[in-house]
Amino acid sequence: MPAPILTTKLHLPPLRAKYVFRSTLLSKLNKGLASGSQLTLFSAPAGFGKTTLMSEWAANCHRSVAWLTLDEGDQTTAGFLGYLISALQTIHPALGEAEAAALHFSQNPPIEVLLVNLLNEIAAEPDPFLLVLDDYHLVDSREIDRLMAFFVEHQPGQIHLVILTREDPSLPLTRLRARNQLTEIRASDLRFNTAETADFMNQVMGINLKSEEIIKLDGQVEGWVAGLQLAGLALQGQKTPTLLSKPFTGSNHFVLDYLLDEVLTHQDGPTQHFLIQTSILDRLCGSLCDAITHNDSYNSQQMLETLEHANLFIIPLDNERGWFRYHPLFRDLLQKQLGQRLSNDAISGLHEQASQWFEEHDEPEKAIQHAISGKTFERAVMLAEASYASMDEAFRSAAWLAWVNKLPDQVVRKHPLLCIQMAMSLTDSGNLELSERYLQYADPMLSQTNAEGEVHLLAAKAALAHAFNAQLLGNLDETVRFANLSLQHTPTEDSFQRSQINVILGFTNWANGNLEAALNTMNEWMSSMLKLGNVMFVVASGFAVADILVGLGRLEDAEKSLIHCLELAKTQGLDAENILAHHYLGLAMISHERNNETTFKKFLQKAEETGNISTLPDWPYRYGLAQAVIYETEGDLERALVALDKAQTNYTVNPVPILRTTNALKARIHIKQNRLNKAHDWVQKQRLSISDDVTYLSEFDHLTLARLHIQEGDFSGVSDMLGRMLIAAKAQNRKGSLLEILTTMSLINDAQGNTTQALNVIEQALTLAEPESYCRLFIECGEPMRKMLETLSINQKHPLKRYVNNLLTAFSEVKNKTSPSFGASVLVEPLTDREIEILRLIAQGFSNEEISRQLYVVISTIKGHNLRIFDKLQVKNRTEAVAKAREIGLI
């Protein structure tokens, strides 16, 4: 669901009919812009005329201007980015369309990826423009500061950023200054000089002051325009404008305080009331003001327009004069008056009226805010509970929490639903500890076995929140326990909540290796989504079901379910197309496993086409993994390593369990390259040991560890570990795991010379693999596997003869094509890391002498290395060595 965008925040404040033309500042600003500076910073206290100067510049900079006024609600990166895109779209409606869609589509949008895409789109804009962020000091979030720092760091020349703030932002200002990429307008620049003060008083405020009075005034307010404006308003009421009255000279009273008193006394009664009562509002419109002032003697809309006309610190927020706001400084002054003139009860009454108005006008956030300010806490709780779901969907749960946090603790505790919602929202913001604390308040609900109605629903929600927390903490058993508990309390007709729970259960069972249970819950989830008519969700999650089926060794079924999803998508029209990239990729990878080149290429091409237009956050990661597999089969191991690194940087957190980490995949390649040191580093980092209890999540790590041991000829304990893994896989009926474990077992038996045992194990694997036409599984095991299969093929009456022969044909095809993936195992004695390093330098055309200098060793050492390299590669000279090394994929 799209987050509601307040268009008033995107409104460029209009220039008043009369203003002081600040030519010096404007030329400074334009000079900065022309010199290609990236950022203009207006940093000065309240009331120094930052916004007015910016409006003036906007009219004189000859560029389009995108404007965003920030407020206290802008504290999440997703919400902030949403507004940023909306502001940019005032320049060009198509800017950031895909990124905005992605923000709405995902609960955990990959902010950096979206920002990079957005910056690329900005770079392609035909005309340069300005992006203004006003009131940036109201943003109080390190994440947003980081996002903006990233923005500034990668900012294309098409965009010039302007920040208006009361405090310097957390951006690399020193660096920008050093590079001359920062134009600064500070308080000292903004202060009006005597001439400007005279201009302002005489032209803008329409008061004719004598020059000595101007000088006196200037000394008093020191060019602070808010002070000048208040002084002007105070003087407008006097017949002969003079400042020589008592308190203003000599005494050092807070100037604005004094001036506001003066200004108010010059207004008529209704205006005074209006100003003071409406000071509780940060945005004003006629109907809202009517609702809180209840005064028949004026019409609020007219009042607002009169105030605007009278320069009374009121700023229109749109072109229709629908919404206004007071200058924040003026509002603070008015609010202080409010506290002095009205009783607390009366002020609470005003807030309650405002809260009701906002509730009726569907602005729950403001309604809650005023209910809390008015100390009508039960009302605030009611509003907060009712608005949580929609605000959460609109990524405003952080803002929601910020408001609810202002409620007294004893009020919160009495409301279990509110506690649960707070817990959920704290979980979203990563504060699991506090989340659990709030859940405790609701826990009594969980133990009520004879619960009915309301209590049931609360118990279901509380258990669901516990399950979420356990899932995030990686506590799989607790996740399952709470999810099941939640399911018990959730009524059958609440398909939405049931499906939420089923997703948790599905992913947790998946991570636990209970693949059949995972499949069941995913299927139930999908059918309830279909019932709700949400075909898109079903299609989008189809690839996860296929992944589980692959884990179960059911390639045929995985293929069928993916094709079924494609067909389902067709019934939805083209809209569904861009979410199908994962499905085509899944089909391609199944074809790859079966060594079916034609369908592999066909599906891969479709996957790439749809992937290019996909906004799915996990696409770059999954595609990177697939690329690595493809490079590896082509024998391009270095490229495969690069693809894996790239995939890892593109990873965004999501609930799909990671069964093969990129680091383990890299270790496999390092083993193939015989760079065993690197593989060992990984083992140490992961603290892997053959005596570990192996879980489904660490299965691939341990299989890789076994491969490393086999390569090194260190067999002790490896068979035991594989045996334990085999038992676990059998218990959960994971055929995919069984096949990997059995092939590894055959390799170790073969390496130890237990030929009969090796063949026995390989026959078990072949029996399981044959119905699903696995092929790459065996080829990837390299030469030892080929030899074992060859031995089996000698028996002409072997029941698996055809399958074995097919595999052998595949082996020979692969070998004839590029075969280098066998590199390391082809050699009798593998090359060391150092030898490979030298080989690479030789391949780059360096002489022995150059290499010796580069590696800081004497030339005779290099020559010694060369001889060993030639020997191991069975070649005679450097040229042949390079050719051979390339052929077998060493370099």
């Binding site: 309240a46 009331g47 009361r166 009273h253 807070f254 603070d332 202080k336 506290g339 002095q340």
Partner: protein
Amino acid sequence: MKEKTKPTIYTIKLKGRLSREWSEWLEAMTIEYEGENETIVKGDILDQSALFGLLKKIRDLGLPLISINQISNKPNQERK
């Protein structure tokens, strides 16, 4: 329950004379004067976030800040 944070006394010195009526706005801190031209805002502040909240209010009024000091707790104060 979590142990309550003990409030600390702070004095905040501002340039200019701020009338005592602002006391309530500034979290009921007391307002005193130093010399002709300086205001001292003084009182208990619950914790760091309360302190920064107060400084924001002062910033938002555009009052120049001169200094801010923590008055050390009396040595015989102990945890209960």
